[in-house]
């Protein structure tokens, strides 16, 4: 098999990337693999989760020089000063506020890493009181939809009242 990149040398590196079930196969010769910068797990050159992450980030690859970087609007975390460009390079946040300042750009990345963008697990007991109520409301709304489809209107009315009650509870504090 010839290298799919240069189509001259024999392909010696074969690897398969599976991201969220989407399978991509690569057949490259060593020279092209090195040029492509696709460092493959298990080969020399080092490979860490952070390299992989920065590869996943939508960071414009032409933006390498210090001059071209100015062209892109600078997104910066006001809390710790980390820029989005720095984050995309090292694949780590500087502080918890980075999540807020980079918010617009994060969902595609999180979607690719986790297949999801919204937390559904544990909630801290003290800080999370409201969140629990909000989740309960979301659950009830789903039940409400279902009961309307099933034409169980009496149950739907009960659910509606319950939702109103909980919403009032949140807005009061």
């Amino acid at each position: 098999m010839l290298c799919q990149e240069c189509e001259k040398r024999p392909a010696t590196l074969h690897f398969t990337k599976i991201i969220n079930g989407v399978k991509t196969e690569f057949h490259l010769c060593e020279t092209c693999a090195r040029e492509k910068g696709d460092i493959i797990p298990g080969t020399a050159g080092g490979f860490s989760i952070h390299n992989l992450l920065s590869g996943l980030l939508d960071f414009d690859p032409t933006n390498k020089g210090p001059n071209s970087a100015k062209a892109a609007p600078m997104i910066r975390c006001e809390e710790c000063g980390m820029t989005y460009a720095q984050f995309s390079k090292i694949g780590r946040f500087g502080c918890s506020s980075c999540y807020k300042y980079f918010n617009g750009k994060l969902d595609p990345l999180l979607k690719r890493v986790h297949g999801n963008t919204v937390h559904v697990g544990k909630i801290p007991k003290r800080a999370g009181g409201h969140i629990k109520v909000k989740r309960r409301i979301d659950d009830l709304k789903q039940e409400l939809q279902y009961s309307i489809i099933q034409e169980e209107f009496e149950k739907a009315a009960q659910l509606r009242d319950q939702i109103r009650e909980l919403e009032k509870e949140i807005s009061e504090d």
């Binding site: 599976i18 079930g21 780590r92 946040f93 500087g94 918890s96 999540y99 963008t117 007991k125």
Partner: protein, 354 residues
């Protein structure tokens, strides 16, 4: 050389107990990543800020909030010499990053060494609970209770949409990494391992060598862990891991039975040769030792080798690591000397029991 209690014994007390399926699943581990509000993550925190993190978390310890979980000891990384740090890493009680480059890095360890709470690693707080055998659910229960104990005293960085906020986007959400260490020699021998491992990666789980990121599997030990931390609840994460691990256990058991049924002489030859080499060799490097120990462990599991308790195998896995070896013989050694002392140690250990 310091006299830190946690680096004296190769086997943590928790590893001396036995768990479910402990012939295949060596240990189960939960790691929970948490950060405090309004302080930059350890990577960007100033010396003063990371000191504050350490003090605030140490306050929690002093308040006796951790008492239900055992007696804890605070160990600062700066108080340890290189060898002690290395031994703690080899025993999986601290991560290489905490030992290597942390600022005001510390660890809270309980007497059984079954709980290791790292401070100022990649995140401010990393709660790690270890159980022998296949007990991932128990490990999560304990980790979650310890998490609650901290949360009663400190404010965590939490967002109602993104969950627990972590330094690395691969941990955000639950901050939970559930992992099991598995010994899978029969799947490796019958060349089914790559098929199984690629199937595992398709259901959102990761497979690594035993010393975590970036190292290959030695001695047929594989660590299986969840990749996804956002959009799945802790229970879903554990259910998913548990069901996949159950299947891998079944495949390994089947492969072992087939090996015994179809090639008993060959497999006996292989484990007895390895047993012979370990019992008599004068020089052995760590890679060969890991492979031979894996063979002997399989021999014990299959009933081909008798009289060697599997705790000795667990003990040797740690003792034959470079750091512990030097600790044990109280000597600084180069690689060549280590290979000699390693062989000596293994001979002694197997001789005593065999």
């Amino acid at each position: 050389m310091s006299n830190l209690r946690f680096t004296e014994q190769p086997l943590s007390e928790w590893m001396r107990r036995r768990g479910n399926d402990s012939d295949i699943v060596i240990s189960s581990r939960i790691r929970v990543a948490r950060n405090l509000q309004h302080i930059p993550f350890p990577m960007l925190a100033t010396n003063q800020q990371s000191e504050e993190v350490l003090n605030r978390l140490n306050e929690v310890l002093k308040s006796n909030a951790l008492q239900p979980f055992g007696t804890f000891h605070l160990v600062r990384m700066s108080s340890l010499d290189e060898l002690d740090k290395r031994v703690l890493v080899e025993k999986h009680l601290v991560s290489p990053d905490l030992a290597g480059e942390s600022r005001n890095g510390a660890v809270l360890l309980n007497d059984q060494e079954s709980v290791s709470i790292m401070i100022n690693e990649e995140d401010h707080l990393r709660i790690q609970c270890l159980y022998p055998g296949f007990q991932i659910r128990e490990a999560w229960k304990l980790a979650s209770a310890i998490d609650d104990a901290f949360e009663a005293h400190v404010d965590y960085a939490f967002d109602d949409r993104k969950g627990y906020l972590t330094c690395c986007p691969t941990n955000v959400g639950t901050g939970v990494r559930a992992s099991v260490m598995m010994h899978l020699p029969a799947l490796v021998m019958t060349q089914q391992i790559s098929r199984i491992l690629s199937a595992v990666s398709q259901v959102g789980l990761a497979v690594r060598g035993i010393y975590g990121e970036g190292s290959e599997a030695t001695g047929n030990m594989f660590q299986i862990s969840n990749q996804i931390t956002l959009g799945q609840s802790e229970t879903e994460i554990i259910d998913n891991l548990e069901s996949v691990v159950h299947q891998i256990i079944q495949h390994e058991k089947n492969a072992r039975e087939r090996l015994l049924a179809e090639s008993k002489v060959r497999i006996t030859d292989r484990v007895m040769r390895s047993y012979g080499i370990l019992s008599h060799a004068a020089i052995i490097d760590s890679k060969e030792a890991a492979q031979r120990l894996s063979d002997v462990r399989l021999g014990i599991d299959l009933g081909l080798i008798q009289g060697v308790p599997d705790s000795v195998m667990n003990e040797l896995n740690v003792m034959t690591q470079p750091g512990f070896l030097q600790k044990y013989f109280h000597e600084k050694m180069d690689a060549g000397e280590r290979d000699m002392y390693r062989a000596k140690l293994i001979r002694e250990k197997l001789g005593k029991t065999g």
